[in-house]
Amino acid sequence: MTIHLESTINGRSVGINVDPTLTLLEVLRENLFLIGTKEGCGVGECGTCVVLLDGTPVTSCLVLAGDADGRDVETVEGLAPDGELNEVQQAFVKSGAFQCGFCTPAMVLSATALLRRNSSPNEEEMKQALGGILCRCGAYPKILEAIIAATGEGA
């Protein structure tokens, strides 16, 4: 049995038949080959699988694919559509806000969503927005520095 999904993924409408028991993470990675979204646990505890669903960060390993029907999904691949890094990505590069990079897509997406919602968050708000994503490399200080820089405050 399959279900049909009609979603907007990174700005493009996508129609696809999928097994209804699959998660959004599985569909993104395995059916659509958007492998920038990572799986660190598969059970909602690490945050590496974050994507934006209608602009809000969600852990895609906990979202059933069917729940993305008719909605807008944004993955890290959508942030630099023409090869131009977005402001958060640029700031991540400049500050060196990653090490192994495994958490980076989730961090960049969550930070981007935060800054769209609130162009001048304070440090507490930044930490809260990223509090659900683990970075075992401990890139946190430089991630914070990058987000501050992306708000224009860091200049």
């Binding site: 492998i35 920038g36 979204t37 990572k38 799986e39 660190g40 646990c41 598969g42 059970v43 505890e45 690490c46 590496t48 993955t75 890290v76 691949e77 942030l79 630099a80 890094l85 990505q89 991540f92 590069v93 400049k94 060196g96 990653f98 090490q99 192994c100 990079g101 495994f102 958490c103 980076t104 897509p105 960049v108 930044m126 930490k127 809260q128 990223l130 509090g131 659900g132 994503i133 683990l134 970075c135 075992r136 490399c137 401990g138 890139a139 946190y140 200080p141 430089k142 991630i143 914070l144």
Partner: protein, 767 residues
């Protein structure tokens, strides 16, 4: 003069990583790829009576079912004690027993659950303190028959490593000492929690008998040899291609997913097999830090000079030794700390238990012994009434001091790390009562670590006719910025723009031998190899330019892709020079090799040279904390972390390592806590095993001390491991400063803090 070395250039892997384009082990997919799943032991110790795989074999999509009988070979770094799949007995909860490959992950998991294993439970040893008792059940009754290296064991016991070191007369010195301080400290098992799980894809060629694996590892050649050992083939039959590594910290060096993928691939008619562990499997059945119980006794005279120390260290390797033997030996030496102590005695024993495997963990034993050493340093200083900073400075190693084995130490910036950390934290001033129930304190801790010695690195540098440079070497990027640092050194050594340098992925069939990307050794060792090969290429180019323009090459210089004459005038760009030879094509190649084995710096007392280190890592941290006396919760406010890096090839990546180390040290020290009962890890999830998030992060001030090392490439040493070690004792010492309690067993949990506070209150009711 350098163009790139020493500068804060953005990492060369930046765009790949911020765009999600980097390909990790978990992203590897091949045509026809199958998926594996593993049946694991539910018992800490049991005999396998029977295995029935018939139902699993008939399940949908199943292509292979493999048991330990199919691969009766043992592997291991120091003791060959481990099979890929349990052969006749299981030795820990999670020990792999049967592997299944099917066309999808779900089918593999379904079939796995159909496998029936009949066990006969055996008495288990799950407490390292009991492992040496006369009646302790033996985890490996046949240990004495295993192939092993030259280290000592105690046959017919659980003791898989015995090491002793002695210098001077410890008992006489204790008798003479004005103060003797004794204590017992323990460091717990913690998980690496690399965010990328253990994963591998393996393929077997029936015709050549070759295995090819796509892996995510920090030590390709060691892993290759372990794989060959467990498969029962020669190392030349195993080829590893290394993808981006989503974190390692020492975890990704032994065959875990790799072993399962390889044994399955042997039985699938050439179809590749992917094995990806679940997070729970990673937590309970991959590898942990070696737990240690450390009895430490130190004698000092009243002027604050340390005169004697004895250490009795017990390590728990878990069910198999993996990389733990080196931890138990090298780690126990480091319990002396970075201090001159004339009389020493060390006894180190490591035991098998029926618990998860342990092994190398960022610091290779240093984090455990630093906990004991630096906690006790603080106790001594306080009992003597000496400032803990002064006490460390007074006893600490300086350039030219001799190490345990008489090696004259070079590149020792310890003093400066202590002084800079002290100054940054504002030592001596503390706001003790921001609120009645909140108390603040400051603490300091330092550390020393040797690097793996001797070891070697090899590189091939190729300059193509397009003027691009490839640095061909087996040094996988594990997140530490290694590719960037190697590229920077290559750009300067050859004299080309950094943008024209690439570091291709490791492939053991193409990249020359390198020791592991471990022990913080890569910058130093591979850097030296790169400098040598790069200079050779530069020499060849200048020769070509000299010949082309009829000038003496000795007067020419190349920097950043431009060739200058003796007057410093631009003669020709590298690209234009090479364009002249476009018709015939030109590709210049040079090999570079560095081994520390021949270095004069390693000279030591005869027979003790193996204890020498080609360089020393030194890092001091000062922490300020706030403790809530009602809840016992510690908030780390600030950590000043000062590391002697020799020379920062890239200050940005050095800071990353220091900051990341502090975050990991904090997390290990106050948050991470396995609940283990009868050998079984009860909290194998990231919801229950807490790892630091950005909300736990203190203010971290990384400080780079540069005590240039003469034999190092541009003066650079290593920085990957040291920062994680000093954080927990710095926090513990700050806790003592704040409220006068000392926690000696890690982790420092709120429950322990509250218990110690109430105990203290009872002891001094008037306080």
């Amino acid at each position: 003069m350098t163009t790139y070395v020493g500068s804060r250039v953005p990492r060369v892997d930046s765009v790949d990583k911020v765009t999600g384009h980097a390909i990790y082990g978990v992203d590897v997919a091949l045509p026809g790829m199958l998926h594996g799943a593993v049946v694991r032991s539910p018992y800490p110790h049991a005999r396998i009576v029977a295995i029935d795989t018939s139902a699993a074999e008939k399940a949908p999509g199943v292509k292979a079912v493999v048991t330990g009988k199919d691969f009766p070979h043992l592997f291991g770094a120091a003791i060959k004690d481990q099979p890929f799949l349990a052969i006749d007995r299981v030795r820990y909860v999670g020990d792999p027993v049967v592997a299944v490959a099917a066309t999808s992950e779900r089918e593999a998991q379904y079939a796995r659950d159909l496998v029936r294993v009949e066990y006969e439970q055996l008495p288990a040893i799950t407490d390292m303190r009991l492992a040496l008792a006369d009646d302790a059940p033996l985890v490996h009754p046949d240990m004495h028959t295993y192939e092993r290296g030259g280290h000592e064991i105690i046959p017919h016991t659980n003791c898989n490593t015995l090491y002793r070191y002695q210098r001077g007369d410890v008992e006489a010195a204790f008798a003479e000492a004005d103060l003797v301080v004794e204590g017992e400290y323990s460091a717990h098992a913690v998980s690496h929690v690399a965010l990328e799980v253990h994963v591998a894809v393996a393929q077997y060629d029936q015709f050549s008998g070759d295995y090819t694996l796509w892996v995510t590892t920090d030590r390709p050649f060691f892993l290759r040899d372990d794989l060959a050992g467990g498969l029962g083939v020669d190392g030349s039959k195993v080829r590893l291609k290394v993808a981006q590594v989503g974190g390692s910290f020492g975890a990704k060096g032994v065959p875990i997913a790799e072993a399962i993928a390889a044994v399955l691939a042997r039985n699938t008619d050439g179809r590749p097999v992917k094995v990806e562990l679940t997070r729970e499997e990673c937590l309970i059945a991959s590898q942990l830090r070696v737990p240690a119980i450390m009895k430490l006794k130190t004698g000092v005279n009243k002027d604050g000079f340390m005169i004697a120390r004895s250490a009795d260290v017990l390590w728990d390797s878990g069910a198999y030794t993996a990389y733990t033997v080196g931890v138990a030996i090298r780690g126990s030496q480091t319990i002396v700390g970075p201090y001159r102590i004339p009389n020493l005695r060390i006894l180190s024993r490591q035991v098998y238990t029926n618990k998860a495997i342990t092994g190398s963990y960022r610091g290779y034993g240093t984090t455990q012994v630093t906990w004991a050493c630096e906690s006790q340093m603080d106790e001594i200083a306080r009992e003597l009434g000496i400032d803990p900073v002064e006490f460390r400075l007074q006893n600490g190693y300086e350039e030219g001091d001799s190490y345990l084995n008489g090696q004259i130490m070079h590149g020792v910036g310890l003093r400066e790390t202590i002084e800079t950390a002290r100054d940054e934290i504002g030592w001596g001033s503390v706001d003790r009562a921001p609120a009645p129930h909140l108390r603040r304190g400051k603490g300091i801790a330092t550390m020393i670590k040797p690097t793996m010695t001797p070891s070697s690195s090899n590189v091939v540098i190729n300059l193509g006719e397009d003027a691009r440079v490839q640095v061909v070497c087996a040094a996988p990027e594990i997140g530490s910025g290694q590719d960037t640092v190697l590229a920077q050194m290559a750009a300067d050594a050859v004299g080309v723009p950094l943008d024209d340098v690439s570091v291709p992925a490791t492939d053991t069939a193409l990249t020359p031998y390198n020791g592991p990307v471990a022990s913080s050794r890569t910058t130093y060792h591979m850097g030296n190899a790169i400098v040598s090969a790069g200079n050779e290429i530069k020499g060849k180019i200048l020769e070509l330019a000299g010949k082309t323009f009829g000038v003496d090459p000795d007067y020419l210089e190349m920097r950043d892709g431009e060739i200058f004459d003796g007057e410093g005038e631009l003669l020709v760009t590298l690209k234009n020079l090479l364009a002249r030879y476009h018709g015939e094509g030109l590709s210049l190649t040079a090999g570079g090799r560095y081994t520390s084995a021949q270095s004069q710096l390693l000279k030591a007392n005869p027979g003790e040279e193996w204890i020498s280190s080609i360089f020393w890592m030194l890092c001091t941290q000062a922490a300020e904390i706030e403790v809530d006396t009602e809840t016992g919760v510690i908030r780390v406010i600030k950590v000043a972390a000062s590391a002697d890096v020799g020379k920062a090839i890239n200050p940005l990546t050095c800071e990353q390592q220091i900051e990341g180390g502090v975050v990991m040290g904090l997390s290990n020290g106050i948050l991470e806590d396995f609940k283990i009962s009868n050998g079984r890890i009860e909290n194998g999830t990231l919801a229950d095993y807490k790892v630091a998030t950005i909300q736990d992060m203190p203010e971290i001030v990384p400080i780079l001390v540069e005590s240039v090392h003469n034999e190092a490439p541009f003066g650079a040493k290593g920085i990957g491991e040291p920062a994680a070690a000093a954080t927990p004792p710095a926090i513990a010492n700050a806790l003592f400063d704040a409220v006068g309690i000392r926690i000696t067993d890690l982790p420092i949990t709120p429950e322990k803090v509250l218990a110690a506070l109430s105990e203290k209150k009872e002891a001094e009711p008037g306080d």
